[in-house]
Amino acid sequence: MPDDDPPLLAVEDLHTTFYTDKEDIHAVQNVSFDIEAGETVGIVGESGSGKSVTARSIMGLIESPGRIQPGSSIRFKGEELTGKSEKEYRKIRGSGIAMIFQDPLTSLNPVYTVGNQIKEALRLHQGLRGKEATEAGIEVLEAVSIPDPRRRMREYPHQFSGGMRQRAIIAMALACDPDLLICDEPTTALDVTIQAQILELLEEIQEERGLSIMFITHDMGVMAQIADRVNVMYAGEIVEKAAVEDLYNSPRHPYTQGLLESIPGRNVGKERLSTIEGDVPTPNAVATSCQFAPRCPEAFEACDRIHPSMVEAEGYGRDHTAACLLYPEDLSEADRIDHHRERETPVEEREPTEDPR
């Protein structure tokens, strides 16, 4: 990849905090990743790991009491998005970045026909009205393989099946003609066969229109099918990033290893499927140690003291990094600890924390 060309989306040190009455939740911490034009970047992680907050931060949809911390940077086509006013942000939303939400049941307003809502997007982004808008709406419904689109335009969301509804929502996003499509668990609420169809549809659309897709899911299987590159998130941080084959063939971070070991299809013949014990902790303080250490089978004493940073964790190929004290593998344990300690954020910049255990 040529370096002089800025990526379509560059997220750097994204830190989003929710200031609730009880505590501050650092839902996303130091998250950095790029999305190039035409590629699909996946974000995978358990519930509560900060995937959706990352997506909403990019869309500028973080509501009070949440706030994107200063120092965070989100650049879309080289343009800084953080700190933009609502009005400026509206120009990016839809035509630049569009988003598909998890639940196709509630993403469409039940009191308007599907056609009405698609036409709303068309009018907003392409200035189409009346008959023109109807024709264009029928076209996008056709593009997402909805049969009999002319009739479907006049129907209400409840008259659509779950899969059809998700297609209609994708059609709405396409009506905005975006460069980047953020899919926030678009297949979670659907059954497996429909899931496969939707994934196929997304791939088709990407090929036709040269879209970039940021795909969020907790399902490692879905991720393997759609993503080019994958970021694994845990408790608000990215713990491993790699190209999809590298990640599945040689996961480096113990968390990723644990995730892959708990997929039934990959572990045929095992008597019991292994699981990761415990829960994702709530990130109510800026991390000063490895967040995964309490659940990690390979944790050692230093894991509770030092916050690991992203380092080279080469398995098969390039650009494979992990945030774990076990890497870089070629150094001795003491050197690795020093390596990570050096790259740690200075202590005085951090807020005091309690022992996570």
Binding site: P65, M99, L108, L124, C176
Partner: protein
């Protein structure tokens, strides 16, 4: 597949017959009363011009008013008159249908009055029925969608007996208010405001001759003032052959005329104040639900501050401040009252709809609208407001009852509060009849009292009906119990 027409105009052009039939009948119905409507509008313009510092245009408006009076209107006291007098030989002159050509004897005033009232209420019912029919025609012939969520809400309301009963009462009340000038056996101006400027002819029973007397003098002879005094109860004639459907007031004025006109004042105050407070409540609910955080907090503090002001004290204070001011003169304080209610009631309404507004703001379709760059204003009006408007209607119908009853209570108290004389207001009729409740003149306080209770109950029942109609679960719940019952059996 053949091309289907897409816009409503195209659909009507493709199949114009039902729309044209509906429109023709509607225009015919409208033409019957067009004169009254045009006159009403002109009178309103005239009132506004009188308030302005310059007199410019007043003469033109007066001319237009005279011209409008010439437009024939079916249900008017000119077409179906009930004033008039008896000749010594017993025939009625000047009452309906004596005013028509080739008819030389009129009906008794009470029948003339009754015919006019039946026609007015019948007309209103026919108009409402035709408009509902129009909606059905639209739904059957022209609507793009086979089904909309509103269909279910209407269906649920149609099965809601209590709500329908409320609707009927509200409808009758509104008809009474709208047709007030036509309904009364006499007019407010002639009977109450300037009784000494008008004269009437009557048959003097003692001399057996026709005499003339001012309305004011006749009124003093027609008082309903309790035991030992005169009394003209409901459905009776006074000594001047004037008919009083509800009897007379202690001042001798006609109670039915007073009530019909009072209904107009009550409805005006109720609707205007609910329109003001409803608009404010809906706007603020949208804003606080969309922006949340500090904006919401600021509105909560503002709303709570206004709610903490005792409304009665505020009313007394403002009534005193605006006494003699032109704002306090309109409708004898009615407009001022409506404004005070409007601007002091909104926090209560807003509090009631803020919850639903916050709820709908968390729906994914609102996020979806924002995520494709919809403007805040459009997101609020298109994707949030429809959800809140049902709740607003429920609370508005409950509050309108409250406002009507408070207005009457203030007028009952009198002393510059509420709506002052000479503008009729139901509460003042109750106050006037207060001393005669236990006498033969019981009707003076009882009829307005019963009507207020009926109207307020009607509005509440209507609100109940709307609430159940907009709640899709109101029937599902009943269905569930039935299933459970069936399983147990």
């Amino acid at each position: 597949m053949h091309e289907e027409p897409t816009t409503i105009t195209e659909r009507i052009a493709a199949n114009p017959r039902p729309a044209l039939v509906w429109l023709a009948v509607f225009l015919a119905l409208f033409a019957l009363e067009a004169g009254a409507l045009i006159q009403g509008v002109i009178v309103l313009v005239e009132r506004i011009i009188v308030l302005l510092p310059t007199e410019a245009g007043l003469s033109a408006v007066t001319g237009a008013k005279q011209a409008a009076a010439e437009i024939p209107t079916l249900i008017s006291r000119e077409v179906i008159p009930n004033y008039g007098y008896r000749t010594p030989d017993g025939a009625w002159v000047n009452t309906f249908p004596e005013n028509l050509p080739y008819v030389d004897s009129g009906l008794e005033p009470k029948w003339a009055w009754l015919i006019r009232n039946v026609l007015a209420f019948g007309y209103a019912a026919a108009l409402l029925g035709w408009i509902l029919h129009g909606y059905n025609v639209f739904r059957r012939e022209y609507r793009e969608a086979d089904w909309t969520p509103r269909d279910d809400a209407l269906g649920r309301f149609r099965r809601h007996t209590w709500g329908k009963a409320g609707f009927v009462v509200v409808f009758l009340f509104i008809t009474m208010a709208v047709f007030a000038p036509t309904l009364g056996p006499t007019t407010v101006d002639r009977n109450i405001v300037q009784p000494y400027s008008y004269e009437l002819t009557y048959l003097n029973e003692e001399t057996g001759e026709l005499d003339t007397v001012t309305v004011g003098t006749a009124n003093t002879e027609s008082r309903s003032a309790g035991a030992g005094d005169q009394n003209f109860g409901p459905w009776s004639y006074d000594n001047y052959d004037r008919f009083h459907p509800f009897g007379t007031l202690p001042q001798g004025t006609d109670l039915y005329t007073f009530m019909a006109s009072g209904a107009r004042v009550s409805l005006f105050i109720g609707l205007l104040s609910i329109a003001i407070s409803g608009t404010l409540a809906a706007t603020f609910a949208m804003i606080s639900a969309y922006y949340k955080g500090l904006v919401d907090l600021a509105l909560v503090v503002t709303g709570d501050s206004i709610m903490s002001i005792p409304q009665l004290l505020l009313l007394i204070l403002l009534s005193a401040v605006f006494a003699g001011h032109w704002l306090g003169e309109i409708y004898s304080g009615g407009l001022l009252l409506a404004l005070i209610f409007g601007f002091s009631t909104w926090p209560f309404l807003w509090r009631a709809v803020r919850g639903p507004a916050l709820q709908v703001s968390t729906e994914e379709w609102v996020d979806a609208a924002r995520s494709y760059g919809q403007t805040p204003r459009k997101t609020m009006t298109k994707h949030m407001l429809p959800y809140v408007i049902g709740y607003l209607m429920v609370y508005a119908s409950l509050f309108i009852g409250g406002i009507i009853i408070t207005t009457s209570a203030l007028s009952f108290l009198g002393g510059g509060l509420g709506v002052n004389s000479p503008t009729p207001e139901w509460g003042r009729a109750i106050a006037a009849g207060q001393d005669y409740v236990a006498t033969q003149s019981w009707h003076v306080a009882l009829i307005p009292g019963v009507l207020i209770v009926l109207v307020v109950t009607g509005f509440n029942a209507f609100g109940d009906g709307i609430r159940d109609a907009i709640d899709p679960e109101s029937e599902a719940g009943e269905g569930e119990t039935e299933i459970v019952g069936g399983g147990a059996g």
